[in-house]
Symmetry: D3
Subunit: 132 residues, 6 copies
């Protein structure tokens, strides 16, 4: 299996609901350094998994809807507990949607799975990894 991974980041505010979150129930925030790995079994005719420029542009576009926001106020996230795990899946789903709209370019339909990892500090991260 071949893969490429690209990295971007966002800075958001939010609060979490549930006693398990302790002080993170208060309004606070995070920098998420986001790694996205795209995988496929064979390379395209250019010898790549996906156009890395397009992949980065699509990732920036997806993250742009979250960046510099208070996630508690975002209608797209209404009623959601925006845990790091949830956000990894949320970004995964939007990348799949972009892929299905052809935004990752010709040949990208051969992508078989994607892993989204959000690093929230030097000691913690969360991922969602799924097939397309």
């Amino acid at each position: 299996m071949y893969s490429i991974t690209v990295r971007e980041h966002i800075m958001i505010a939010h609060s979490l609901r549930g006693a398990v979150f302790g002080p993170a129930q208060q309004l606070h925030g995070a920098t998420y350094v986001v790694d996205v790995e795209f995988r496929r079994s064979t390379l395209d005719s250019d010898g790549i998994v996906v156009d890395i420029s397009r992949a980065t542009a699509v990732l920036r576009d997806v993250l742009g809807g979250l960046n510099y926001r208070n996630l508690d106020d975002e209608s797209a996230l209404k009623g959601q507990n925006t845990t790091t795990e949830f956000l990894a899946r949320f970004i995964f789903d939007r990348l799949i949607a972009a892929l299905s709209r052809g935004e990752l370019g010709p040949g990208s339909s051969a992508i078989e799975s994607i892993r989204v990892t959000l690093h929230e500090s030097h000691v913690a991260s969360a991922s969602f990894d799924g097939r397309i």
Copy 2:
């Protein structure tokens, strides 16, 4: 598949038995920066893989039995070659035991697999990855 990863570290002395280890047959030591990834297919009702505070506390507890020790003198490791690979499995087994005792909290029984990685330097690491 969702996952979260937490990081801690230990500092231990030990020696290794076998010609393959060369100078590491002498008593020396290591800092192991330990990453533990917990994985499950669905999130719990709080939207998480596991309570990250509990996961870190359990990891600290497991590592506490090794930290600042000479592993050559530990009865729990009697007769073992405490390679980085062996220690990754050793920590994995103790995490599974803690999980089975319920120490990772309600809902943690849905955890399906765990990966333990020990970084021993900027150029080498070892892992054990297993189902529960």
Copy 3:
């Protein structure tokens, strides 16, 4: 010159005032991975710059006043633009205060300068470096 550096992190929400900040004028947040370097010309009788356990405890205590907060609502920061640079200085000042109260232990009066660095992402950081 000898030095030691310890690392901790905080997760905060805030907004910034001024056109220069663009979208960061909205309420958002950040993870700051905080490195503090303590420097002195000679080691103490134990052969150290400062007790690393105390240094970490003092740093945690200082950061505890900011962690999981919305800095826009903190009375101690009233009217301040809580830029990364400002926060580096803010933490520096509180560390100096703790040092002057003797919280870093006997011999820590020999510390000559401190550098506080806040990493806000994988591509940006800010520091304050000053004499005591």
Copy 4:
């Protein structure tokens, strides 16, 4: 599953063919920091996945054929688009060949899969992961 990972690096020049590469169609270069993960289900009688010294030596040997070269001029790469993905597979294939020649030592025939990752910057990497 057990694994160990070792790290080396190479510095090469090359150019890429295809409009998708934009300015990378010009002769330029890269540092690739190369991580190789070796995996097997059980440890050998020494308690290891593979002799880490041999694994590093074999990796250095494989990389030595590329290091400080202009890949556009290498006969072994004639007519190839030396993308990061392609190079990950190229290194994988040569590691498999070394393994089949017994260069990784007794017991290394139990290695089941290998992952080769090339980090080309702080924001991009490519991998090839395959069974033996």
Copy 5:
């Protein structure tokens, strides 16, 4: 002293002249991950060292003249041995020129010194640090 640091990268080909460089006398290449630290004694009225967006844009502009090039063919570098140390100074000089042209914005004249660091691998880097 306050500072901020921003990070970008370039990928270049070049060769070095001199027996001391061994195999690096051949045409090869490098990824340079470039950190630039800007320092000043006091913050501006917005509470910052410099507008981080402008600083990053100026750095990208300076690096754009080198990125995806064979430095052996660049007229601006004619007759130069483009060592990592030399390139750190080259980038420093161009940043100073941009600063003197006002490209870093109002108030940036208070910047007192700049440090440019080029990481060429996980085990080597070079810097130039100078007053303005």
Copy 6:
């Protein structure tokens, strides 16, 4: 000021004397990832601070006297508390000695200062920085 930095690592056992060290008074160990920065005001005729191959070889040689050892048993360290700070200075002194013997090559007498940093984990390091 120009500088270059090279990285190597060692794995040692030791114990520390003094109540301040708590459990580190027991025999334990550490991996030290060692960064050495060499600085000078002007480059030599090859355009470098120092021959990076020689610098790395000298560093390996200095570290070779410590690597895979129990420092409590080393005669060169008799009666010393081998704290990370102490070891940074110890390595600095040996590098200075190698420099004075000409082991860093012609022109290396222009080196003005050296900084030795030992990273003992992902959250702690110590340095010694001195003029020659």
